[in-house]
């Protein structure tokens, strides 16, 4: 009985259209206040640059990509808008998860695959996404979502490429996700 209650509670997600309107308003306030949109991969890039700068300063100076970043972003890479925003995402996600009773350490995966396989796939997907977000100059939030809101040609192209590739490859990776 208690178990059923927990499952039911965790299934209670916000209506997607309502969530979309809220997300759009958050995005609008980012533009109105800060003149820029939301982002995620940029914060990971800032922390990477900062990490490399701390551990191997000589390498950060030599590596042209990080050097370009440090030149265009003076000061501490961690003291950036996106880093503060991502800290907020962690807090906001945690709060929502806590209120809905969804805080739990677990590896979520389809019953078709093992936890270990899921972790390897997640790591591989992350590597591809990290690489892709550099080429795309932003990820699903920074490039695709913001790009759509400001009608940017590049952003909308990025959105179509991300989702188009996802749909195109879905068939080949179906065994990782669904019972077919």
């Amino acid at each position: 009985m208690e178990d059923n209650k927990v499952i039911k509670r965790s299934e209670k997600y916000m209506n997607p259209y309502l969530a979309g309107v809220f997300l759009g308003l958050v995005l609008l306030s980012a533009y109105f206040i800060s003149g820029r949109g939301l982002g995620a991969s940029g914060a990971i890039k800032s922390t990477t640059v900062s990490l490399v700068k701390t551990i191997a300063p000589a390498h950060a100076e030599k590596a042209p990509y990080y050097k370009e970043y440090l030149e265009t972003h003076p000061g501490n890479p961690l003291n950036s808008w996106l880093v503060y925003q991502i800290l907020g995402v962690i807090v906001g996600g945690f709060l929502s998860g806590a209120l809905a009773g969804r805080l739990k350490f677990k590896v979520e995966h389809s019953p078709n695959i093992t936890s270990k396989k899921r972790l390897i796939l997640a790591l591989a997907g992350g590597i591809l996404f990290g690489l892709g977000a550099q080429f795309g100059r932003g990820c699903t939030s920074g490039s695709a979502l913001c790009g759509m809101a400001v009608l940017s040609l590049g952003g909308i192209m990025s959105m179509m490429a991300i989702f188009g590739t996802g749909f195109g490859l879905a068939y080949f990776f179906r065994k990782f996700w669904v019972n077919i």
Binding site: Y13, A30, N79, Q85, L131, M148, V150, L151, A161
Partner: protein
Amino acid sequence: MGPLIAYDLITGSTNLLFAFLIGIGFGFVLESAGFSSSRKLVGVFYGYDTVVLKVFFTAGITGMLGLLFFSLFGWIDLDLIYINPTFLYSTLFGGVLMGAGFIIGGFCPGTSICAASIGKIDAIFFVLGIYIGVNIFNEIYPLVEGFYKAKFLGSPKLSDFLGISDGIMALVMIAMAIFAFWLGEIFEKKKKPVIY
């Protein structure tokens, strides 16, 4: 009047405080909508759960309409906001890599951080993967720099590119979104629900 930071109505530090607050809203909505679950996210590609499509397009349209109306009312100067630049080849290639990463890893960067915040261990691995990906890009940058910077078109809007007004463009986007919602609802009804 807006963006507030561009008109010096707030200081740089206040701007960072707002970044944190905006992030809280961002993370809270993502988690509440179910974006902390990879199986829910990937559902869009198999048609059993199209929450990604609904949230993404509704958010895009809300943001787009908000910006257009704010501009119309003179509340925001759209020339002062960041418009994503377009580097034709790099943008498309990056999008393809990201799409592959999405279907293999089940997250995108924002959703993986959100999922990691409620304890999803697979999401933590995804975030680690992003770090590795960024570092790989840094290492191969000398080889790909030419490609990365090729075919720079500036920061055009799709409406300018097509030679139509922003308003008509917005109407087309809304029509496309409604069509996508309709397709999404049909697929969700047809597919057997997946329990997760």
